[in-house]
């Protein structure tokens, strides 16, 4: 069976299963009522709390998976991930500033600030890439921007008016899809659609980059256009993902590897299955967060990082071995 069918079925199955998990235990009669009368209490729980949350988990995972696959394909590096360009850092900084300014409870303010800052960082990257469409230079720029947003984030903590605010920022940074609304899900879906439009035609370019930039150019690939489309798509996805759910680590790195492990090596054909794999991973992690019997809820981003970090180390180990033998 085709890999994407397996992944799509897994995602659908998880989506249905997770509809049955939540703080309030629902009986079969409640489910029947929720289906019959969406405005009822059970209906509210199912359609206004659980479904948006699960959809957000799926869509955020998909955004991270797609962004990771594009980043690895464009940078021709299996260790590339969506946060590489500094956009996630920018989004995190925006959210932190919104919280420090006391806008944490205003609907959409934290997300709006996160998007605004992610957009700002993206514009810097776009201005850079239009002049220097070189992936090494872009990685350096990304390292610089990440350091800058990290430093500014430290400054926000430093100037934070109260420990409560600091804790609130930290909680948000740890990533979660709890209490997400349909607006959040729509935002994520919109981001994915936008990215799909941008990535529609990068296939031949990403594939030819496999053989290096000179070969790609000699076969008619417009490297400037490819860089702009790839980098903007990564930025939109990474920025939106942070705006919707906070920082969820390692999904963007691991999802493309999972799909590669299933036999897909083509950097373009990897993108869609990688999105599905990302969705499955975040749904699984969000399910685990709900199941883990801890007195304080483990945050989603903490869990994905806990699983992802050893995986990253393993990848680095394997790559290092290949380079040394190379």
């Amino acid at each position: 069976m085709k890999i994407w069918i397996i992944l799509a079925l897994s995602a659908a199955l998880l989506l249905v299963l997770l509809m049955g998990m939540g703080e309030v235990a629902l009986s079969p009669a409640d489910y029947a009522e929720a289906l019959r009368a969406p405005g009822s209490l059970a209906g509210d729980i199912l359609w206004q709390i659980r479904l948006p949350r699960n959809l957000c988990a799926l869509l955020v995972g998909a955004m991270l998976g797609v962004a990771g696959a594009v980043a690895q394909g464009y940078f021709r590096n299996p260790l590339a991930e969506p946060g590489l360009m500094g956009v996630s850092g920018g989004a995190g900084l925006g959210a932190a500033i919104a919280i420090v300014l006391g806008l944490g409870l205003m609907p959409g303010a934290v997300e709006g600030f996160a998007l605004l800052f992610a957009g700002g960082v993206s514009l810097i990257i776009l201005a850079f890439v239009s002049r220097f469409p070189d992936r090494q230079a872009l990685i350096l720029l990304g390292v610089g921007l990440s350091s800058l947003t990290g430093a500014l984030m430290a400054l926000v903590f430093n100037l934070s008016p109260s420990p409560v605010t600091t804790a609130e920022i930290l909680g948000w940074m740890m990533g979660s899809v709890e209490n997400r609304s349909w607006t959040d899900a729509a935002m994520a879906a919109g981001g994915l659609l936008l990215a799909a439009l941008m990535l529609w035609r990068v296939g031949p370019g990403l594939r030819l980059l496999t053989l290096g930039e000179d070969t790609a150019r000699s076969q008619g690939v417009d490297l400037r256009q490819l860089a702009a489309l790839s980098v903007v798509a990564i930025s939109v996805l990474a920025g939106l993902a942070v705006a919707v759910s906070g920082v969820i680590g390692f999904v963007g790195l691991a999802a493309p590897h999972l799909v590669r492990g299933l036999g897909v090596r083509d950097p373009y054909r990897l993108i869609a299955p990688s999105g599905l794999a990302g969705g499955v991973m975040v749904l699984l992690a969000d399910g685990a967060v709900r199941l883990l019997p801890t007195s304080t809820d483990i945050r989603l981003g903490v869990l994905t990082s806990l699983i992802g970090a050893p995986l990253f180390a393993l990848l680095a180990w394997k790559s290092a071995k290949e380079w040394v033998q190379g």
Binding site: R76, N77, P204, R207, L208, L209, T210, L211, G212, D214, T215, R217, S218, Q219, G220, V221, D222, R265, D266, P267
Partner: protein
Amino acid sequence: MIETQNLSVRLAHTEAVRDVSLRFEPGRFYGLVGPNGSGKTTLLRALAGLVAPSAGEVQIDDRALSSLSLSGRAARIGYLPQTRSISWDLTVREIVQLGAQRFRDAEARADAALNEVGLSAVAHRRVFSLSGGQTARVLLARLLATACPILLLDEPLTALDPAWQRQGLGVLKAAAARGHVVIASLHDLGLAAAFCDSVYVMHDGRVAGFGTPEQVFTPPLLAEVFHLNGGFRASDDGPALHLAAHPVSSLTSLSDHYS
């Protein structure tokens, strides 16, 4: 046909190619030889449109290369770079198909090209499982699959064993016989002499000699450009290039040689 008029290419602060005027005709196999750093790679990249000239221009069939669109160039010029990095572990056929991706029958063309380089049997294998020499042949097949009238190759023989160096040159000669312009930078002067119809010798970014191998590889040129003693001698198979085992070590020995 591809030609250059007073072409110069500046890289950072050095002029890698200086005032070079060349002309390459269809149906001929051209060897581009010269010591390390003589400007062969830069010249090939300029011919491929990958580096912009600082003066002069490249023309293809009397049209300026710079006036052609990216796809127009890609349909006319195939280029095999010196570096052989492959980022992802695709199958051999997928790699070769990349060369033919502007055609509808990319797969059939890829198979024909693989057949030409003797790798049909490994078409389904992952490219990272191949040896360096086989990988070099896969990349040569990718170039052949482009079916471009002009084929540029930067040191295509690196990593090939002696038998396949000859086979590879045979493939290129056959491509020239089919009407392609084939231009390859080569380090092995003996092979260049044996297989190329014409040879351009590069030295310090300039053309130090052009003609048939016999006209070009004269003892003075070999000594001056390559620091080698040698020249064409009669053999059972006709004239062949012979090179001394030891290089000319200094100008003193050079003058001794001619005194």
